[in-house]
Each structure stands twice: as C-alpha cells, then as structure tokens.
C-alpha cells in the first residue's frame, strides 16, 4: 500500500475510474494539458485525450449544465470547479436543476454527476480563493455533499461519488492537497457515502468535524490528552446525508459536543449538527453544544496577519475543548 498525498489520491481515483468506465469524462477549466491548477487531473488528458478530458470555456454554469445533460444521455461527468469560490455562477444549475431532476421527474430521470471543488483558506488565497461553501449545498434535498479528510477516504469516496446515481458535491480542502499524506491501496475500493467515522475514541468530549478540521481536532485532542481530557473525534466525511447515528452515539457517550468548521458560524453547517444533537441527545448533554467556526467575515483576507487571525487552529480547538470539558 503506497503512501500518497491527498491530491495524488484524488488523481489516482479519477484515473482508475476512467480506465474502468468509459462513460466517465472529466471537464472543467484547465483540466486538460495543464492538468488543473492544483494538478488534480495531471496526466489524464495525455492518457484519455480531448474527448474524455475537456478543457471548457470559463463558464461554470455551462460546466454544471452540460454535465447534467451529458449524464442524462449516458455519460458520468466529473466536473471540476477550479475554486469553490467560483461555484456560484453554477448555483442555478446545481440547485434548481441537478438536485431536482429526479424528484421533479418522479424518478424517471436521474442526474449522476460529480462536481469536485477545492475549498478553504490558509494558502494566501484571499477573499475569493479561500471560501467554504458546504452549507449552501448541504441544505438542498437531492444533493449529496462529501468532504474527505484523508487520502484513503478521498479516493474511496470519490469512486463512490462517481458511481452514485445522484449528484454529488465533492469538496476538497486545498490546504490538505500536499500537506496531508496517507496510505492508499492501489486499485479499486470504495468508501460508502453517508457514513461518518470515529477517528479517535474518547470519553469526555465529542468533537465533530470534517475535512482539514479533522486533523486540527486530532492535534487539539492530543494536546488536551496530557491534561486528562479524553476527546472523541468524529469525522463526518459526508455532510449530506448526515450520519446522525454515529454523531448521536458519540455524544450520548461523552455528554459534550463541540462542532468545528472553518466556514463562518451563523447559518453554517455546524448549526445543523448542533441542532440535531440538542434535540436528539438532549437528555444526555452535560454541557451546551458548542460551535467553533470562522469569524463572520466573507472568507479570509489576503494579508498574512489577517488570514492568521481568521483561521481556526488546533490551539483554538484545544481551548474550546478545555472550556467545554470544564463545564
């Protein structure tokens, strides 16, 4: 089993699925010769050619809308939105069309497309190359939203997403692309959508996170472990559909729940997790369900001092765990 970076795992998943299924095509801006601005599709154009690796015009609504049509006529499009920040021109196609086609057609048409997009801050990307967009899509019936935290899950979940009969938004925290490495089996394997995983077991506090924040939560958990605070970390992996059972089982055990994400707090995805726990685990709670999230500003500013102030860090998570544990 080889050790791979997160981006290598994504690339490998794409390549293997394209080899396995000739209906799979990749389309997006610069996904061809250049191999994508982060090189997620590097080498695919050379192997599969112009027909299956399509450099599109600079038009996101077209990328989503053409994927929907291509899927209706038998293809399995995997679209790349260059940065999640640029997915908004495609909102109408994703929310009004992709998410509703099966429902509005009473199940007679489907929309098996996967839309990949790098998101998140911490790479000097400033206001428009740092955003977290998961909350917008997690709210929409008909969509699935996947956010892996490890190379293993990235490949396994990507294969599941591509094979899924419904539209999947597949979000990759760009700060993990090269900084996170892990073992990735060669060849075919899948990780099921809609299943969270307990990445670290603990008894005092449950931290619910996804993507990069899982690593920060584990870091924080290690810090407070020395202080005798045993933290359980739940990696959601898929945020819609949400694996409520795993989250609730953990909180019913620990009695304390901290939800962490980089996106701003108000109306963010953490609110759904917190509301779920507050309603379904009410009798088990020994402390308030707490949210730790990015500040109420539109993404991360450019200047390093501002970006640093913006970011959710292991230190901030550790502090929140201590506060909750002490409640």
């Amino acid at each position: 089993m080889a050790v791979r970076t997160f981006i290598e795992a994504v690339r490998e998943g794409l390549r293997e699925e394209m080899r396995r299924d000739s209906a799979v095509i990749v389309l997006g801006e610069d996904v061809g010769k250049k191999g994508g601005v982060f090189f997620a599709t590097d080498g695919l154009w050379a192997e599969f050619g112009d027909d299956r690796v399509i450099d599109t015009p600079l038009t996101e609504s077209m990328i989503a809308g053409v994927s929907i049509g291509a899927a209706a006529n038998g293809l399995r499009p995997v679209a790349e939105i260059q940065f999640a920040d640029f997915i908004f021109p495609a909102m109408n196609q994703i929310i009004e069309e992709a998410a509703r086609i099966r429902y509005r057609s009473n199940g007679t048409y489907g929309c098996p497309i996967t839309i990949r997009a790098p998101f998140g801050a911490g790479v000097h990307g400033a206001l428009y190359h740092s955003q977290s967009v998961e909350a917008f899509f997690a709210h929409v019936p008909g969509l699935k939203v996947v956010i892996p935290s490890t190379p293993y899950d990235a490949k396994g979940l990507l294969l599941s997403a591509i094979r899924d009969p419904d539209p999947v938004i597949f979000l990759e925290h760009k700060k993990m692309y090269r900084s996170v490495r892990g073992e990735v089996p060669d060849g075919e394997y899948t990780v099921p959508l809609g299943r969270a995983t307990v990445t670290r077991e603990g008894s005092r506090v449950t931290v619910v996170a996804y993507g990069l924040m899982v690593h920060y939560a584990l870091d924080a958990a290690a810090r407070v472990a020395g202080e005798g605070i045993e933290t359980e970390v739940v990696d959601l992996r898929t945020i819609r559909p949400l694996d409520a059972a795993t989250v609730l089982a953990s909180v019913r055990k620990t009695g304390k729940c901290l939800v962490v994400h980089e996106d701003n707090r108000f109306g963010g995805f953490g609110a759904e997790v917190a509301a779920l726990v507050a309603e379904e685990a009410f009798d088990y709670l020994d402390g308030p369900v707490t949210r730790l999230a990015g500040p109420e500003s539109p993404a991360a500013p450019y200047a390093s001092v501002l970006e640093d102030a913006f970011l959710v860090t292991p230190e901030k998570i550790a502090a929140a765990i201590r506060k909750l544990a002490a409640y």
Binding site: T59, M62, G69, G74, P77, N92, E97, R102, N106, T108
Partner: protein
C-alpha cells in the same frame, strides 16, 4: 430564404406544399392534424381552467406552426427534445398522447413527466426522449448541449432540439450553451420562438436586437429566421439544420417569428399592456388557418377530411379530458419519494 414568397397582394405564390416540401400529402395532413390537435387540447385546458377544474394554463396557441414544422424534420425515438411550456405541439410530435398531456394538465399520478409534481406544461417523458423541463427559463439550453455532447462522443447519429422564448434567450445560460455548442460543433438546434413578449415586457425592452438569430454569428453557427405562420418554411429550415447536425457541421439557431394568441398564462390579462391593434395583428398571424388554407388551396385538404378530422380530434380531446379528470391523484405518501435514487 425559407419563407413563402408573396405577391404584392400578399397572396402566396409558392409551388404547392408537397412540391415545395418534398413531403407526401399524407404527411402534410399529419402535420396539420398535429397542429389542430394541439390547439384543441389547449383550448380545452382554458375551458377547464375557467370552470375551475384546473388551477393553471400556459398556452401554446400561436406557436403550433413553428413547432409542428420543426418537428416534422426530426425523428422521434432517435432524437432528443428539450421543450418549454409552449411546446404542446412538439411533445405530441415526439409521441406524447392527448391523455398524457391532460394527465399533466390535471397533475395526476400518471402524468408521465412528473407524476403530478410539476405545474401544467412542464413536460417530460423518458419514453420519448423528452428531457424533464423545469421553470427557470433557459437552463435547458445547457442540458441540450450536454446531451448533444454525449451523442457526439459516442458517435451516435442523434439530433437534440431545445426550445424557448426570445426572453429566455437573454439568459446567460443560453450564451454559454451556444458558445460551447459552437466550439464543439454539437449536433444541436436551438429554436427561439419569438412572440415579441416576455409576459408583459415587449421585445424592444428585453432584447437589444430585432432578430435573436443574428447572435448565432457570435457562436460560429448559422442563424436562420423563419415565419412561424409558414409551417413548411420552418420544416425546410430545420431539415437543413438536421442535415448539418448529422454530418458534423454543428449547431444551428433558428428563430421563428410567432404570435402569442392568449395572455401569458391563465393568471395574466394581456389587455393591460397590449393595444387592440397589436392584439389584432397577432390574431392575423395564426398559423393554424394559414396552413389549413395552404393545404386547401393545394387540394390536399377537402371539406370531408376536415370534418372527419374535427370529429376525431373532438373525440380525442373528450377522451383525454375524461380520462385525466377521472385519473387518480398522486398518493400523499409518495411526497418524499425520488429525492434520491431508490434501492433496487
């Protein structure tokens, strides 16, 4: 170029329809029948609405000629259709039955497009390669491009036709779709049914140019203007577009100048924003009598045939109405089904 040449008196001086179109008389009568059937179903829907039996009607009256002519050049079963809410004639041409049209109008469980989930005239039919249509206008242009892309990549001879109004054609999605279709030379045709209004907004306030078709040049495809009252002119334009699509010559934009004979929908009072002259001029451009007279003049439609046809159509519309009205509503227990694919 496709339109009927006319004398100064305004009388057509074209050869007879069969010669002009190369279509046998029977086929020409079929096209007329399709238009008349669409019109009759549409008129019935209004009666049902005014008598409180259906909530909503959005009408195809005035658009049937363009759609019937266009679809006459297509091959149902092989080709794809992305209709819009005035595409009654087109969906019938693609095989949808009067009963199915009425099931959709009543929002019954057996509505083939949505099982009663969508508003009337939101057509769809997997059995007929009619893609599921939504309300947000213009989005279907991109779906058409995607469907055509798949045909092209598989090398499948297949033409995708997408229909919309001139107002919808201003949506960014349509620009992006035409650009993509032009780049990839997709086997696709965009039919813009220009009736001069987007609900109440006249074309001069919503389209910067008189002819939407001139935009085709900006996407490296032919832009063809046809008279929506000239059914065979529409057919001939589409015949060429289909030939281009099937031989890899790429997409075509066809603009049909049509008229909206009714209000925008059963919720709209067009007298509030249209003058009597304007409305009268519109009524003068009804494609149904125009094509009927053409066939009559050429001796392709006799009084006997017309009478038989009228009876047949009345029967079909009555049957469809009774069938759909008596049909079952969706089961409320299905409210949250098909949000996602169901196992098995």
């Amino acid at each position: 170029m496709y339109s009927r040449r006319v004398t100064n008196s305004g009388a057509p001086i074209t050869p007879d329809p069969a010669t002009r179109s190369g279509l046998p008389a029977a086929r020409l009568r079929e096209i007329y029948r399709l238009m008349a059937l669409a019109r009759a179903l549409d008129e019935r829907a209004w009666i049902l609405n005014r008598s409180g039996r259906v909530h909503f009607v959005i009408s195809a009256q005035g658009h049937e000629g363009a759609e019937a002519g266009i679809c006459a050049a297509l091959t149902p079963g092989r080709d794809w259709l992305l209709p819009y809410y005035r595409s009654m004639a087109a969906v019938l041409a693609f095989g949808m039955t009067p009963r199915e049209v009425m099931l959709q109008q009543f929002g019954r469980a057996d509505d083939p497009g949505s099982g009663g989930r969508q508003m009337p005239a939101h057509y769809g039919g997997a059995a007929y390669r009619i893609f599921s249509s939504s309300s947000p206008v213009g989005t279907q242009a991109l779906h058409a491009a995607g469907i055509a892309l798949a045909s092209k990549l598989r090398g499948e001879p297949q033409v995708t036709t997408v229909m919309m109004g001139e107002g919808a054609a201003n949506q960014g999605d349509v620009h992006e779709a035409l650009n993509f279709a032009g780049i990839h030379r997709l086997p696709m045709v965009l039919l813009v049914e220009n009736n001069g209004y987007a609900i109440s907004v006249p074309a001069e306030k919503q389209v910067a140019v008189r002819d939407v078709a001139v935009r085709a040049a900006g996407y490296n495809m032919p832009g063809v203007i046809v008279d929506g009252t000239d059914v065979l002119g529409c057919y001939l334009a589409m015949r060429d577009a289909v030939a281009r699509a099937l031989t890899g010559d790429g997409p075509t934009l066809i603009e049909a100048k049509v008229t909206r004979l009714t209000g925008h929908s059963s919720d709209d009072q067009q007298t509030k924003y249209r003058t009597e002259e304007d409305l009268a001029a519109g009524r003068g451009r009804d494609p149904l009598p125009a094509f009927r007279d053409e066939l009559r003049a050429a001796g392709l439609l006799g009084e006997a045939e017309e009478a038989t046809l009228a009876t047949e159509i009345r029967g079909l519309v009555d049957d469809a109405t009774d069938f759909a009205e008596a049909a079952a509503d969706p089961d409320p227990a299905t409210l949250t089904r098909h949000v996602y694919a169901e196992p098995g």
